[in-house]
């Protein structure tokens, strides 16, 4: 187990390192000069040069990258805006706030959005999926299959605006989605996120329904399941003890991927509902060519993805005794 963790984490670190380089190059490939944004109404070469200097953009790219790494690992006191403890992504060009705290400010939104929806779509999805598998071939099964097929083909950028138009703009049943701090007021926290949750989990749940159903049915055709029945085990017992165990593996895999990428910033969802989460932050960082922010979000999202990859592989070991972590 330990060896596994060490190996995987080292691998992840390497990937993150490479990713940060790519992001860096990508940024300097952008046809925009971040200084221009801060230069303001009366911009000119001198003030531009000034800003370049303040941002350290006048240094060579490798040099800047080195500084970035150094700050990230050791923190820095070089910033005019004040000290910046590790992990230090520096200060946003645009808002002058420390990138790390900005991300931490936005994180709760994304986490609430993701986990809230994830809980729903995981249980609803698996539930209906297994029900359909259990009732395979019946009317119910056919309806579920068809329904989930249609819904899973809907996109957030269609279902989202639709929900907004119907529930907010036309009928005024709900307020526009918004994030309110849970600790401050759980109720508004809930009401503010309900539409995004519903939309997000509707789409995902339908996908999980399809997945659960098919992988369940696949498992039911396994020989060892047949053996269990040949032993006289009841259908229910076989279904929930033998088949279900194996059907988990593909689901866990996908769930890990989904959760990882969602926690890294559900860009389209947050964009659709105007929620100030990491996804929005990412978009802003590109809009304002805000390198520190871009790097921060990029690396954060990537680490989420990698983290969940590792978690998924670890869960395999719990599900399937044949899997050995090393």
């Amino acid at each position: 187990m330990l060896r596994f963790l060490v190996r995987r984490i080292l691998g992840a670190v390497v990937i993150l390192f490479l990713l940060s380089i790519v992001t860096f190059l990508l940024f300097f490939g952008m046809p925009r000069d971040p200084a221009l944004l801060m230069c303001g109404k009366t911009c000119n070469p001198t003030s531009l040069a000034n800003i370049h200097h303040v941002l350290g953009l006048d240094k060579s790219i490798p040099e800047q990258y080195w500084i970035f790494l150094h700050n990230l690992i050791l923190g820095s006191n070089q910033f005019a805006q004040g000290p910046c403890p590790a992990p230090c992504f520096g200060y946003s060009y645009h808002t002058n706030d420390p990138v790390w705290s900005t991300m931490m400010d936005r994180l709760p939104t994304t986490v609430s959005l993701t986990l809230g929806a994830a809980v729903v779509f995981l249980f609803v999805g698996l539930g209906t999926g297994m029900l359909a598998a259990w009732k395979r071939g019946t009317m119910l099964d056919k309806t579920v299959t068809a329904g989930s097929m249609v819904i899973s083909s809907m996109q957030i950028y269609f279902l989202g605006p639709l929900a907004l138009a119907a529930l907010v703009y036309q009928s005024h049943i709900f307020d526009k989605p918004a994030y309110n701090d849970f600790t401050a007021d759980p109720v508004t926290w809930f009401t503010g996120l309900i539409i995004p949750w519903v939309v997000l989990s509707t789409i995902f749940a339908s996908q999980y329904t399809r997945m659960a159903r098919s992988s369940m049915i696949e498992q039911l055709q396994e020989e060892h399941v047949r053996t269990a029945r040949a032993k006289g085990m009841s259908r229910r017992y076989v279904f929930f003890r033998y088949a279900w165990r194996g059907s988990l593996i593909p689901i866990v895999t996908i769930f890990g991927i989904d959760l990882g990428s969602l926690l890294g910033g559900a860009i389209i969802t947050e964009y659709t509902f105007g929620l100030p989460g990491l996804g929005r932050l990412a978009v802003e960082s590109v809009q304002f060519s805000d390198l520190p922010l871009l790097l921060g979000v990029m690396l954060f999202s990537a680490s989420m993805i990698l983290l969940f990859n590792i978690l998924v592989d670890a869960t395999y070991a719990f599900i399937d005794p044949r899997v050995r972590l090393a």
């Binding site: 046809p31 138009a165 055709q221 964009y271 990412a282 990537a302």
Partner: protein, 329 residues
């Protein structure tokens, strides 16, 4: 309950009637009603896309006319059609787009045209890359396999949407045209490139797996022993055998690329006004103006895309089952 004996009619039939797997798949596919219907729906979309210019010629409008200025009486000062339901009328079948008042019908078919063109290109690029890297990794194994594997891991760790957004302006800026309008093809190419770069991994992985399995099979061994060159083996023995997973995967990834492309245009980093595009219609549909005043508008891109994706996925399932009837459905 399953697990019951299910003989393999495939082999059985082959033996008596001696049909090629291809013919069999075709026979089985034709028997699958859903498959055939969805195939027709998909075909319909492609035909519409291909014939968009012709259709709009017959229909007598194009997606670029600013009806809000041509026919001011149809709009209010904010550019919203004054007739109900987004100005649907015998003249404008799908109504008029709030804002500049483009004709929704022509805009939609041209939009489908753009999106399908892009997604098709991406799919082709991805399939080729997938074959190239996947089969190579699977067949050669060893170092090559290792490196390709690591490359795949690396790319899979990318936050793809974020990467798309960040790289679009970069890629676009690669083709600079100082005096002229940034041509649409540049954006199109850029969209194709970014999706391709992060799109090929899963397919490559699958193909690698299949090749790996094939490599151990007798006939490959036989070919090896008989001294056939790797290239020949890949061409003659391996490629024909990966066609099945390839075809199935392709039918699954194309619609997913359609939705990704639409997503990018929705975020405003893809195709932009006035070039018609499916996703760009969604971003229009999500504006205050539409949400407040013209909910009708969003159904045309929305429903058409749902229908398209559903049909394509059903088609994918049918193709898969036709190749391999034992798969669970």
């Amino acid at each position: 309950m399953d697990g019951g004996p299910q003989p393999d009619p495939n082999t059985a039939t082959v033996k008596v009637e001696g049909r090629s797997p291809g013919q069999l798949m075709w026979i089985r596919f034709k028997r699958d009603r859903t498959g055939v219907i969805s195939a027709f729906v998909v075909a319909f979309f492609f035909v519409v896309a291909a014939a968009a210019p012709l259709i709009s010629k017959l229909y007598g409008k194009n997606p670029y006319t600013v009806y809000a200025d041509e026919r001011p009486e149809l709009f209010d000062s904010a550019g919203v059609p004054v007739q109900p339901n987004g100005g649907i009328s015998s003249e404008f079948w799908f109504g008029l787009e709030p804002g500049n008042g483009y004709d929704v019908f022509t805009k939609l078919i041209y939009g489908i045209r753009t999106s399908l063109l892009i997604s098709l290109a991406v799919t082709v690029a991805v399939v080729l890359t997938g074959i190239l890297l996947g089969v190579t990794a699977g067949y050669l194994g060893g170092k090559t396999d290792f490196f390709i594997g690591r490359l795949i891991d690396f790319l899979l760790a990318f936050p793809s949407q974020l990467f798309f957004i960040a790289s679009m302006p970069v890629v676009v800026s690669l083709f600079v045209s100082p005096r002229d309008e940034t041509p649409t093809y540049v954006r199109v190419v850029a969209l194709i490139v970014v999706q391709w770069v992060l799109g090929w991994m899963s397919l490559a992985r699958i193909l690698r797996g299949t090749t790996l399995a094939l490599r151990e099979r007798e006939f490959i061994e036989a070919a090896k022993v008989s001294g056939a060159s790797p290239w020949r083996i890949i061409r003659r023995e391996i490629l024909p055998n990966v066609v099945t997973p390839l075809l199935v995967q392709a039918t699954y990834i194309l619609p997913s690329f359609v939705t990704i492309e639409a997503g990018l245009s929705f975020l405003g980093v893809g195709i932009v006004e006035p070039t018609p595009d499916w996703g760009q219609m969604f971003s229009k549909a999500s504006t205050e103006l539409v949400l407040q005043n013209d909910i009708t508008y969003m159904f045309f891109p929305g429903v058409s895309m749902v229908v398209f994706v559903v049909a394509f996925n059903l088609l994918g399932d049918s193709v898969r089952d036709a190749f391999d009837p034992k798969t669970a459905r």
